[in-house]
Symmetry: C2
Subunit: 229 residues, 2 copies
Amino acid sequence: MKGILYGVSVGPGDPELMTLKAVRTIEHCEAVAAPETRGEKTLALDIARGAADLSGKEVFSVGFPMTRDPKALAANYDAVASQIVQRLEAGKSVAMINLGDVSIYSTFSYVAERVAAQGYEVEIVPGVPSFCAVAAKLGTPLTQRDEPLHVLPASFEDLDAALALRGTKVIMKTGKSLQKTLEAIERAGAIEHTSMVQNCGLANERVCKTVSAADTSSDYFTTILVKEK
Amino acid sequence: MKGILYGVSVGPGDPELMTLKAVRTIEHCEAVAAPETRGEKTLALDIARGAADLSGKEVFSVGFPMTRDPKALAANYDAVASQIVQRLEAGKSVAMINLGDVSIYSTFSYVAERVAAQGYEVEIVPGVPSFCAVAAKLGTPLTQRDEPLHVLPASFEDLDAALALRGTKVIMKTGKSLQKTLEAIERAGAIEHTSMVQNCGLANERVCKTVSAADTSSDYFTTILVKEK
């Protein structure tokens, strides 16, 4: 019997925001693949440990370099897939844990398509995305009535056009580009409708119900919420 | 001691997609407010019962008529808020349970602002939105690289313009407007990149990896995913 690869969402930070299914799936697997990146360190593993019992499991790191070079990225996904396939072939099921929800800006899909192409079963456990936790923390709805919601990465090339769209805008993982992002929001005349949470659910959480365009704090886990005027 | 109102997200359908915090919060409260609507019936309550122990709690229905008349809606929110305030004033904490995530197209915020205005504490427990569960079920990521994600209600007035945006489009709760929505997707030339899940995580779930513009099935809980060409 070959193992199954599970892409398990562990939520944005607070271990209590893991789902019952995420905890059960991790505890069911013989091995846990813990992504390690420069920005996120071993945060997903810390969250998982906060709610699931990992004793007796093989926990192994999978590294994702912060590069944009397609060749280097593809080689890295191949290497991670082969680390996982090794375990699946030995009959171990693997839970690859992911911050927030697996479907939103995670690296899991690149690894999963390679593992699936080699004939292994892949299953996904959805979770709480950071922007839902951020809205809860701010006590504000993301969408009301017929409003659309636009989720944008901070690296999005045409932020000015996106900020002009109707509805609520969520800008994720601003990190070093916080100032550039806040400047775009000010250009759009929306700075008074903007709020922000850094490190949501973590010890160093910072909740800003209002935001100044001069804010120079930079944190990888910054989520910005821009409501409609 | 006055009670606290908790807006608790119970996820899209499968009780196992409730978070640990949602289960703990519901079990902590003396009373549970269960929304009852024409489209959703008592689904949120059925989900909550599937994972949380409600024995000994006061479970009361809060009705939301399916009207768009602002006066009727406001009067209804006032009435629901007063049902809740009655319990809070008696020292009972109330968990108002909500499908999916509380921050996305839920009625909770209208009730919560009224309860908060009367001086009571309100806290929100985020959850798994239906579109994350739908993506997991389809085995497809919602966003990759720098792609934006646009979440739209089926009632959105300018669906054609929204479908022309870059990135992934999620169209929620299409229900009776399924045909109109699929026609708009076909006009946008995107029907081959469209998939759909009806009643995600429920007994009558229907997963459609491909979609025909002629599909006339109508179900309140239909989530459509349109990927970029």
